[in-house]
Symmetry: C2
Subunit: 259 residues, 2 copies
DNA sequence: TTGCTCCTCACGTCACGTGAGGTGGC
DNA sequence: TTGCTCCTCACGTCACGTGAGGTGGC
């Protein structure tokens, strides 16, 4: 027979853990002294403790461990639990690997620039949205070509839609023979004469402050981040107009995929 | 200005999170309506929120995020924090990779044997210990050769040491010209005429029940586990005698390293 | 008597999720 | 008036760690 301290040392667990496992009925001491409440464990219980520790190591919760050691789950359920865990752990590893890349990109930027410029860019999922839109063409992607086209388009769009607009206006772009096809869009509830903007699974997003004439440095920062953090661009970015008053605030959303 | 719901959707966070960040002073709404307590956010605050989300994504706690966004940490501290995080994440990935291997070994064993034999084997660190010991030689590793040697050795050792024994007896083995050098050891406090058994960083351990004459299947299970779970043996196992009464209970400890 | 081991509460952890119960503005 | 959005508590989560305050056996 072992005292709780001895048994804890043998099993490389804490005394508190053994008390906890007792409390939740996962591993009861072989004997409890009536007068003092002292717990005693048998050597053979070390195998039970090992089984618990091993299942915990696989990442099961104590509740799941209890079901398994109490033999309450069928082999089929167990297979399912293991497969689920496998998927969860694989996902965890993928997320942590991305995290590691991001941390290293930040460290490199500190070495290079001597300060931390963090958090400008965030990866988000952009849900699908139904919009009404007007289009025009511009000769080039430069802000001085886009601005005169997109401005009047939004003016007319908002005038026509009135209070049917359901969210922030969106601009997006495509290549076309004349140069660039400019879309000025606004979310709406109805479906006639509308366009369905599909979801973007992963968008690298950055918030731009002030006039779109000065968007170039922000776009460059975004492009640099995408490269440094192990992503690849999948096309032109969308622009979400968060504020159109005197102080423009825009979110640039560029579809990306992990390299 | 955005209501809390709108702002949460724009930032892909929950309303509850925004309230939490307000409560801990991490991101205060631009305005709070005096009468109703309604929170209002400015578009420009989305950049602040993004910064918070990005730092959280790197794995910092909200307390650390607050220090960083409030610019309370020097560039040197920040570099240190990032390096620490890098190490933590790398360790996490290593642990999860091992976990994944263990899960897959379990799944394979289910496919092969139709049942789950889990938790027999656990990886533990075995701390160093100072022992008094006696040695003898045996012709072979088979239990029928070891038994007659180790038994009398332990008998004499315990007789000589009396109550100076400080823990469970330990047996361990080495190759020698005559066959096997058998060590029968017991932990003691004093240092004269003692041997220092070094720590085993990683030991694959299994609990054996009953006579050591029947240890072969247990040793085979251990060897199989070591192979199936991506480890490699580093030498002979130690035997820790947990119970020597009528029912023997032994822990076999085999030093291993990840392949 | 002094250490040592053990005991039972019970709070703290971390970042929110999830009701409960209620209010303000269209 | 009916939805919708918003509000403030306050408990729950998960597996223990960490005291506080006290007791039993050598």
């Amino acid at each position: 027979m072992f005292g709780i301290g001895e048994f804890a040392r043998a099993g490389r667990v804490s005394v508190r853990m053994l008390r906890h496992y007792d409390a939740i009925g996962l591993l009861r001491p072989a004997r409890i002294h009536a007068g003092t409440g002292y717990r005693s464990y048998e050597a053979a219980q070390l195998a039970d403790l090992n089984r618990i520790v091993a299942l915990k190591e696989l990442g099961f919760t104590l509740e799941q461990v209890r079901s398994i050691v109490a033999d309450k789950v069928s082999i089929e359920e167990l297979r399912g639990m293991l497969r689920l865990r496998r998927a969860e752990v694989a996902e965890q590893i993928a997320a942590d690997t991305a995290r590691l890349t991001h941390i290293e990109a930040r460290l490199e930027s500190i070495e290079r620039e001597g300060f931390l410029l963090v958090g400008d860019v965030v990866i988000k999922r952009i849900p699908a949205v139904r919009v009404a839109e007007l289009t025009g063409t511009a000769a080039d992607f430069a802000p001085e070509f886009i601005g005169p086209v997109v401005g009047p388009l939004f003016g007319e769009l908002v005038e026509r839609l009135g209070d049917a607009v359901r969210g922030q206006p969106i601009a997006y772009y495509e290549d076309c023979p004349e140069g660039v096809l400019v879309h000025a869009a606004a979310p709406v509830d109805f479906t006639e004469n509308t366009v369905y903007l599909p979801e973007i699974e992963q968008a690298a997003t950055i918030v731009h402050h002030g006039s779109m004439d000065a968007v170039i440095p922000t776009l460059q920062a975004l492009a640099h981040w995408i490269d440094a953090n192990g992503y690849r661009s999948l096309g032109y970015n969308r622009e979400l107009y968060l504020e159109c008053g005197p102080e423009f605030v825009t979110e640039l959303q560029e579809p990306v995929i992990a390299r």
